[in-house]
Amino acid sequence: MPHDHADHDHPHTLLPSDPALRVKALETILTQKGLIDPAALDEIIETYETKIGPRNGAHVVAKAWTDPAFKTALLKDATAVVSEMGYYGRQGEHMIVVENTDEVHNIVVCTLCSCYPWPLLGIPPTWYKSDAYRARAVREPRKVLAEFGVTLPSDMAVRVWDSTAETRYLVLPQRPKGTDGMAEAALMDLISRDSMIGTGLVSAP
């Protein structure tokens, strides 16, 4: 069980001070001990660099924009619907999709750590994990949005979702005007990671 260590006696102080060497030391000891497989580490890294990322979320959003029955089901039980698309997994066990409308804009944060819907968006960007975003998104979301270049109409509400449990939130951004004829694949290219966190909007091409 974790407990408090005096500053000078926390186990991490036994490791090299350079972070890259610190990681290497842990990997080396655990590998020598027969507890990790370095090839498994390569596989994990490759998975989150190339296979699991915001394209998955964009697929879900584009489908919701083009298929009303899918959208209804997604808003009702996102976990079941995205699982059917193959997007279930670690850090996405309990999914909820929240829809942006003319009345409300949604934005997601984790003030206590860095909870994020990995199977749909991959590993979070650095700013999402930063103290500044964690501290400010709940108290002044509109100033935060302005730093992303987003200004909302004055009568639109902002709803900030602080991910304090194992529920993970994905924002369903508004479909931009002027995209009526576009197919799912073309729409996917418009949908940014930030728009699915709520710090961006989707624009027509």
Partner: protein, 226 residues
């Protein structure tokens, strides 16, 4: 009282630096390695997600504040490995294995990675605790924050939402209670809700009268309000 990680609403952090959509997932090779070592060590089954979060939260505040994200992960992992007796302090100090481990059968080999990542670890569990609130009910969060089992223990009620009046907006089933699970005291599953708070209930100078913050909160964090 809470710990250093509980920073929601804090002043003084400065501007956010957005990143391009096509920026690398890992900004240095060791970042990816740190994430992967953490996941692979987690697969040994010696701790759960609540224990690992609490491990990072127990870092001395001066370290937590000065470390980069993956440095915190590495420091947290070093603590977990020693606390769970997977590695010894001597092994960390010498940078090499001393003696064998009885956990080698739990090693996640490369061919298992895809299945492990795809199977996840759901946090919902059956519970005998009856669902006490309905959507639309008004509730108030605990006035004094903190773990009720362990002084200074893990909890998921952020300080900024303590003693606040909110409205139940979703019932999310029954989930493992982190306050118990983080200290190996059992799952203690209970009803979990999404609770909406008006910004004016939380902040001295709210940005807009229509704005809300929604938190996922366990039933024992709440009491009925009118």
């Amino acid at each position: 009282m809470s710990r250093v990680h509980d920073m929601g609403g804090r002043f003084g952090d400065g501007a956010i630096v957005p990143e391009a959509e096509d920026d690398p997932v890992f900004h240095a090779d060791w970042h990816g390695r740190a994430l992967a070592v953490t996941l692979a060590a987690g697969a040994l089954g010696k701790w759960n997600i609540d224990i690992s979060r609490h491990g990072r939260e127990c870092l001395p505040p001066v370290d937590y504040a000065s470390m980069s994200y993956y440095e915190k992960w590495m420091a947290g992992l070093a603590g977990l490995l020693v606390d769970a007796k997977v590695l010894t302090r001597e092994e960390l100090a010498q940078g090499r294995a001393i003696g064998s481990s009885d956990l080698t059968a739990k090693r996640m080999d490369a061919d298992k990675v895809a299945a492990v990542l795809a199977s996840g670890g759901p946090a919902d569990r059956p519970s005998d605790v009856p669902v006490g609130y309905s959507v639309g009910d008004m509730v108030r969060t605990r006035k004094i924050n903190g773990n009720r089992h362990v002084n200074g223990g893990h909890t998921r009620l952020p300080s900024y939402a303590v003693g606040a009046l909110g409205r139940i907006v979703m019932i999310q089933g029954t989930h493992i209670l982190p306050d118990s699970s983080a200290h190996r005291l059992g799952d203690a599953a209970e009803p979990l809700y999404a609770v909406a708070f008006a910004a004016s209930e939380l902040w001295a100078d709210p940005e807009h009268p229509k704005d809300e913050v929604v938190l996922d909160l366990w039933q024992s964090y709440l009491s009925a309000a009118t």
